[in-house]
Assembly symmetry: C3
Homo-oligomer: 456 residues x 3
Amino acid sequence: AAFDSINETNAGLDTFFLLFAASFVFFMQTGFAMLCAGSVRQKNVKNIMLKNILDACGGALGFWSVGYAFAYGGADSSKKGFIGNTGFFLTGFTTGGELIGWFFQFAFAATAATIVAGTVAERCKFEAYLAYSLMLTGFVYPVIVYSIWSSSGFLSAFNGEPFLGCGMHDFAGSGVVHMTGGVTALIAAKVLGPRIGRFYDADGNPLPEPVSFGPHSVSLQVLGTFVLWVGWYGFNPGSTLLISNSTAAAVSALAAVTTTIAAAAGSVSALFMDMFLSRMKTGHCEYDITMCMNGALGGLVAITAGCSVMAPWAAFVTGIIAGWVYIFFSSLLVKLRIDDAVDAIPVHFGNGMWGCLAVGLFAEPSRVANAYSDHGNYGLFYGTGGNLLGAQVVGVLWIIGWVTVIMTPYFLILNCLGLFRVDAIEEEVGLDISHHKGAAYDISGPSEEVPQKFEI
Amino acid sequence: AAFDSINETNAGLDTFFLLFAASFVFFMQTGFAMLCAGSVRQKNVKNIMLKNILDACGGALGFWSVGYAFAYGGADSSKKGFIGNTGFFLTGFTTGGELIGWFFQFAFAATAATIVAGTVAERCKFEAYLAYSLMLTGFVYPVIVYSIWSSSGFLSAFNGEPFLGCGMHDFAGSGVVHMTGGVTALIAAKVLGPRIGRFYDADGNPLPEPVSFGPHSVSLQVLGTFVLWVGWYGFNPGSTLLISNSTAAAVSALAAVTTTIAAAAGSVSALFMDMFLSRMKTGHCEYDITMCMNGALGGLVAITAGCSVMAPWAAFVTGIIAGWVYIFFSSLLVKLRIDDAVDAIPVHFGNGMWGCLAVGLFAEPSRVANAYSDHGNYGLFYGTGGNLLGAQVVGVLWIIGWVTVIMTPYFLILNCLGLFRVDAIEEEVGLDISHHKGAAYDISGPSEEVPQKFEI
Amino acid sequence: AAFDSINETNAGLDTFFLLFAASFVFFMQTGFAMLCAGSVRQKNVKNIMLKNILDACGGALGFWSVGYAFAYGGADSSKKGFIGNTGFFLTGFTTGGELIGWFFQFAFAATAATIVAGTVAERCKFEAYLAYSLMLTGFVYPVIVYSIWSSSGFLSAFNGEPFLGCGMHDFAGSGVVHMTGGVTALIAAKVLGPRIGRFYDADGNPLPEPVSFGPHSVSLQVLGTFVLWVGWYGFNPGSTLLISNSTAAAVSALAAVTTTIAAAAGSVSALFMDMFLSRMKTGHCEYDITMCMNGALGGLVAITAGCSVMAPWAAFVTGIIAGWVYIFFSSLLVKLRIDDAVDAIPVHFGNGMWGCLAVGLFAEPSRVANAYSDHGNYGLFYGTGGNLLGAQVVGVLWIIGWVTVIMTPYFLILNCLGLFRVDAIEEEVGLDISHHKGAAYDISGPSEEVPQKFEI
């Protein structure tokens, strides 16, 4: 009877743990909305926020109806497969664990979807965005989840016979979530083309220098960044999926620590590297808050795969490099004249990739044994061979490949049909006025005469 | 000894659970403040936020001193009563369960109070608002709580002899919290009258078309909406009040799932219905972010009563209809020339009512047994008769009746005494300048000459 | 075996509890950033937010490398010492309890650091701020933590032979965290001098009346205040450090209740006291939202020391007085011509001090026994002598003394070397343009002609 009671208590504790973690992950939607809103020009604020709300809603409906079934339905560690096929519309879900598991996974799916919103901001049609986001949460993302996180996945660490003896180790989704969103964003940005006036003049000739379109509100960007960071404490520590024993507790706690250190390191690293690079060019010493924010986010994305298997010092190294990775990919995009309105590609694709690879370098034996199992394959620096790194590389290529194969034709077709990009005149006017009944702000006070009347 | 230990652990777990949930519910105050602030004109921002802070504070002091005692004091399932009478000022509260129970219930009371702030914004006197909000949290709301949630309540599902064999099922308060706030808002708006220039010209003649006063910041509105949504994961899943066994865990997890689906459905439903209706009128296809936000909130309010007893599909249906209910009541108010500055009445009154009724339609037998007891009365669609629906209807009428009987004379008296509404000139100037020492924003940069000096 | 299982469950539960609490405390960084950003003028918004992000990052790196080792390393209740010396870089941290303990303590350290940012806003050099904030989280703050919270501390309540038989009782850090930040802010403000034009004219003569520099966005201030309040539910209830038994649960729950009541009382008290004082001067009855916000924060700071040992009524009294303490210190600073851009000194230093002393007055025997041990020394009002009050007074003096001795020469040297304050012209232009590549906002819409084109 005492054992029964403990099981009852543990059922409650673990359900509560995922309720907490999922609520924090869902809170990241607020962060993305504020970060995106702050980053765009004043004339497109309502449009981007509407997309942010709707991909949360679309994610919920898509993941309820088919997404979760595709991602996990009928998974079985004794075999491998491509896609799940049970549990559509949550049919048969009755226990706390099943139900809260859906809620937690939905929050991740919505995160993957919303990453793209920022990149294509200020020029993407609203309907195209909706169609894409249902496609992503309903099909593209679930297939990746199935392959890496479900026990039937061909790259899953939880399969009975994992790839290369270990499978891919992507604890909370540097690859599964962030690269999926990031690769999609990259393809979309390439197909959609840059915003008018960013890289080309009115005749289509490249400008000598790209024009940067400043954020309309840095306050909203900072708010969004902090909220995302906070939400990450659900994302990473929550990915143990349970907390009712001391091993899970140690793994979850480690994730909180490494997440913190990597974010801090990424922020500092990007800020100072950018400052040094600018000073070499201009001689001035200026600190750019954008670097600080995106560096932190880059560090967070990068540690997401390895948060549970790395020592704190390795999290520090991962974060420092994440700052550089961010700067490198950000400059590369500008060189390639690919226009990312919020720099989501360097943050989520660049650092998602780096995070997956970092696991292959830094995964520490005892921590791998805690978070996964004692399979004997660890980070390259621990001298046990390159199987884990190999699995990580294959995982990265698989994600890039799958997303590219599905989304490239999808976006190209949308584009050919004229359904992807708004008209040039609408873009110039701004989407808020042209599509959403007016501007996002009206900060005019009462007319001049009124206060005068009042004074008298 | 092992049993003792388990009881100790469970005491800690359940206290922690309510600490988490109540903190999330309290976070909704932030959401209401941002939503209200964003919705009003720039000249009244400080005023509305001051009211939002103060009803949280007033709610705490009112609910500490008398409110909680009236709501739950001395409740006993073997008898029925009208109002509680023990535990004033938390006297005798020593256990974790008692203390955290107060904290959780306070957060709900503060929610009921703050709903009204938005409706009466831009014209209600500050002192009248304070007086009303103490009245609501200290007396009106506690009586409703006693009747429906305490074990002595005449409509309570937890009484030994519940009304119609089941009592009213209002799990987290579509009726108790949202209708109470919403009915009060409706009465207040009717007595107070519309803002100057909204429905009538300077001579008091109806305008051919109502003038809508746009929000001053849609960014703040979106922030508020997301924060409310996040907070709802404390509001609904927390209303199990405990989590230390697998049944409670299943109920709480179900609440998280249904809450998510109903919010998403409400948002999508309101957005597209509004778009179709507008297109029929104007021929243009425009997406209104206000619909998206208030639809989500409407869905959240509507699922609040039934979150623990409905299947996910029923939550979806409830949410879809909630979007329509919102639009219907919003249009109706405009037709009736009742001015609601933030559309709180359609969201909280309209959908609070719909949510209570939806339980009478969709409550599923096995889920009712988990969340309440196996009393044999379920939703109409499950073919067990109309007792539950009957109890829900009576509950709705009781809430409307009680609030109306108390608040109508209260507001009428305030109004007759000239204590309810600010002077017309103060309203035109805006309350921030006339009552709160100046405008909420000063976004002017340094004067033109200064940066020029700097460049040289 | 059942006992083992309970220990496993408890390990998970307590780790989860601190993960929750620390995440909420970390969320307070968002609150500080928004409050500070809202409080400064538009021209310095990016600068202050950059500092807010960086002290979180610096706090993480400083507390990981040396801070935590200094604060707790090798503490032992059988002896006393000055500073810890094991656990640098988290070496040897493997259990959930150890790791999550660091995360929780880091969040507190970052809070202490960020308090100063607001006070010195709009004129402090970025590099000086960074250097100071590493110094604080890496050394000054850890020494105070060691002395009061580690079991080896000379003032610690957890030492085997505590000072005056009880040691200092500073449950969540009115003294350790808030006074440390507040005293530093006071010294920094004094050394740094007021902002140009605040108290003196261009020739250095005192102005007849101080000029107040209004906040640029009250909405951001309110957002920050509410987020801080929410975060405090991690700060205070989380400071039990565990929740796996009914005593800890009761202590934690009490902290949630007293925190709520003190915040509400502080807010109301400051608002109305200020209104009465202004009315006596000007005859007008105006409600100042700044008072309402800072009063709430003052109440929160003041209850932080005693949240676990005071009855709800004592929390109410503490909060009411906190509102007055805030107003008193705020006026005093203006009289002394010390310029605090966000009034952090009255809130954190003034009320931190009041909170420590209030414990010596109101600590209730049975609650002290729950939260600490039954050592027989309680608040003065309970008639058991003045030992506890004595320990509190010594604690207050120790914090003031230690911070003053270290930070005064530190800031004076920075100042002499010209590293502390920006040039006058940079200050006039604003730090965003002079140091951070431009203004924080660009709220201009599309140019006039564009929408006209669109209409045609």
